[in-house]
């Protein structure tokens, strides 16, 4: 075989190799091979959370997001995987409920440390307004001055009492019903406020 013939024989495979290498190199240089879904963050590493809502709604959201991550960390899964577990229909296990409660309590500490908790009077008034208490009881609580509430109560204490008292299974079942969910949370907050005030009075 002459050198010209050899060259002709090798030209097309060489061109093919160059084309393939070129295409693959450009693709890899532009992220080819790494185009896959986002990986969930490590639930044990604190990530900043925020909410577009204000008042109890905003606080609840930040508590839930931080609490979910803390609970997920405790049982060794991602925050997203734990949220999906809780969203599954059917009964939740005691382990899941206990982890969620512990996570929410941890979240209270985190938000307190970050200075994100509102004053107790703000929390109490909003909860009382939205609760299903009788008009007389609502008026009685509204009559208490903010300064006295803030002196008597601390927000983290009210939240801890609320979380410990909340029926989390019922809360998860009410997720799709805004009215029921709000009433359940506000009633629990109001109850915690009342109990704390009652403790102090005694």
């Amino acid at each position: 075989m002459t050198s010209a013939a050899r060259l002709r024989t090798a030209a097309l495979p060489a061109l093919a190799a160059v084309l393939v290498s070129g295409v693959l190199a450009v693709q890899l240089a532009n992220g080819g091979g790494r185009y896959s879904p986002l990986r969930p963050a490590n639930s044990c590493l604190a990530a900043p959370v925020s909410s577009v809502s204000t008042g109890i709604d905003g606080l609840t959201e930040e508590l839930v997001l931080t609490g979910l991550a803390a609970a997920a960390c405790q049982i060794g899964v991602s925050r997203e995987a734990f949220a999906l577990q809780l969203a599954q229909p059917g009964t939740r296990t005691d382990a899941q409920i206990n982890a969620l409660r512990a996570g929410l309590l941890t979240a209270v500490d985190s938000l307190k440390a970050a200075g994100k908790l509102p004053r107790a009077s703000q929390l109490a008034r909003e909860a009382v307004d939205a609760s299903n208490l009788s008009g007389l009881r609502k008026a009685a609580i509204r009559a208490i001055p903010d300064a006295l509430i803030d002196k008597t109560l601390t927000t983290d204490d009210v939240l801890r009492r609320t979380i410990n008292d909340l029926d989390l299974r019922a809360l998860l079942a009410n997720l799709s019903d805004r009215q029921k969910l709000t009433t359940q949370v506000d009633t629990a907050v109001t109850k915690a406020v009342m109990e704390r005030l009652a403790d102090d009075l005694h």
Binding site: R8, A11, V20, N30, Y35, D57, A83, L84, L175, R178
Partner: protein, 476 residues
């Protein structure tokens, strides 16, 4: 007139072989209209290829000692009738049965067309027309199917085949009048000296065929054809599935996108002429290009259609460089020709079935495994979205319902957002969330198809390896 008849016969070959992948882009619509499952709808594709692979060789045996024009015309008529039945099928069972009958008719039509084209032209030119028509049909099938589905419906794919086949029946039978026992008067009048010479050549060929030793089938090119067809299934079947089901592109957009493959295949011939490459250089390069193109499809940097052009062009160029010379290698100088043509058809369609059998479970399993990471990514985006908590919960509920409804497929998230009522201030954030979620689904789908494309690339490399002994020993 002879050219027109030859063109019609070649068009029939292209039509039958295009049917191998023509319905790929129509499968999602068939799935919806005939209320079936993903696993069952795949049989619209599998049944045709499987029956064609099984029947092609026995069909070639049938031609022995019989008038090819009659059998070919009968095959084309059966193909046309079955196409019409496919077009009006009201259930998946009827459609799959009609597709099987279509493949039986198609097998007889393709083998007969080879013989008639060789008789009509010369052996070399007839084979070249037949091979080119097959390559053209294979490459153009998904494009044509996608455009027809988008413009009309999946049924139109089969409707357009009927007139083509109906016109080809008299074209096939006309050949019978010329080469049969009694030639028609008007045909005799128009026979030129050239025709008479060709008639003598044909008679000599017939005589030689009766006395010539039957050549054994060439194993290596047929194996390479089967492996390459299996590999090309990844490009012609899985890639369009990724476009339509994974990236939610319309069949028309998908059809235009995959038109890169036939366009690149057209470049193969000028390229080989310019470089004056031999068959071995062509097939080696072609296998390498198909493997490289499929690897490129496995390593896409995003779901932007522009990124698919170069890998598809590699696959198309590879297709143009391999199918033609490999089919020629399997048939050239072999007698009886229709028997060896039958082997190439059987090898190619067995390869398609092999590809579907290997790749479908891989990508469906990968699609299932892609679901948890995709759900995690979707959950993270919903949890972090700048929306009111209750709106997040409503979106999450809608998404969960959609994921449940589209179980086993890449879900369509649009319905979850269409019914959502949010304040005007939140609408931009909702729109952004929808875009981000769809991006995650595209990422998950692209990732899920990766292994199947890589396996396709490996099949192309195995095809290349199967040709290496040929190089050492030379083409026999």
């Amino acid at each position: 007139m002879r050219r027109a008849a030859a063109a019609l016969l070649a068009l029939t070959v292209g039509c039958v072989l295009a049917d191998s992948a023509v319905v790929t882009l129509a499968l999602p619509e068939i799935l919806e209209r005939l209320h079936t499952t993903v696993g069952q709808v795949a049989w619209v594709l599998i049944a045709f290829n499987l029956v064609l692979a099984v029947v092609a060789r026995p069909a070639a045996w049938f031609y022995k000692g019989r008038d090819p024009a009659v059998l070919c015309a009968a095959g084309i008529a059966v193909f046309a009738g079955a196409s019409a039945l496919c077009a009006v099928a009201g259930s998946l069972d009827v459609l799959v049965a009609a597709r099987s009958v279509q493949a039986v008719g198609g097998a007889f039509a393709v083998i007969g067309c080879l013989q008639l084209l060789v008789d009509e032209l010369t052996e070399r030119r007839g084979m070249a027309w037949w091979i080119a028509a097959g390559v053209f049909g294979t490459a153009v099938g998904p494009v044509a199917g996608g455009l027809l589905t988008d413009a009309f419906s999946w049924r139109s794919i089969f409707i357009v085949q009927v007139p083509i086949a109906v016109l080809a029946v008299p074209a096939a039978l006309a050949k019978r009048r010329r080469s049969g026992q009694g030639l028609a008067d008007e045909t005799q009048e128009h026979l030129t000296q050239e025709h008479l010479t060709e008639e003598r050549d044909a008679e000599e060929r017939d005589t030689q065929e009766h006395h010539a030793p039957k050549h054994r089938v060439r194993i290596r090119p047929n194996i390479a054809l089967a492996l390459l067809s299996a590999a090309l299934t990844a490009a012609l079947f899985l890639f369009v599935l990724l476009l339509v089901d994974g990236w939610r592109r319309s069949p028309a957009v998908a059809a235009v996108t995959v038109s890169v493959i036939p366009l690149a295949a057209l470049l193969a011939r000028p390229l080989t002429r310019t470089l004056r490459s031999g068959p071995m250089a062509q097939t080696t390069s072609g296998c390498l290009l198909i493997a490289g193109g499929l690897t490129g499809l496995a390593l896409l940097p995003s779901a932007d259609l522009a990124w698919t052009i170069a890998p598809q062009a590699l696959v198309g160029l590879g297709l143009g460089l391999t199918l033609d010379p490999l089919t020629l290698q399997a048939m050239d100088g072999r007698t009886p020709l229709f028997r060896h043509g039958g082997w190439t058809i059987a090898a190619r369609h067995a390869g398609v079935v092999l590809g579907l059998a290997i790749l479908t479970p891989v990508f469906t399993a990968d699609l299932r495994s892609a679901q948890p990471p995709a759900e995690d990514a979707i959950t993270a985006l919903v949890l972090n979205a700048p929306l009111a908590p209750q709106d997040k919960i409503t979106i999450a509920r809608g998404l969960a319902d959609q994921l449940k409804q589209d179980s086993g497929r890449v879900p369509d998230l649009d319905p979850a957002f269409q019914q959502l009522s949010v304040p005007a201030a939140e609408k931009p954030a909702v729109a952004q969330l929808e875009r981000d979620l769809n991006l995650q689904l595209q990422r998950a789908a692209t990732h899920a198809f990766r292994n199947a494309f890589l396996i396709g690339a490996a099949l192309a490399l195995v095809a290349l390896l199967s040709l290496i002994p040929l190089r050492r020993g030379g083409v026999r």
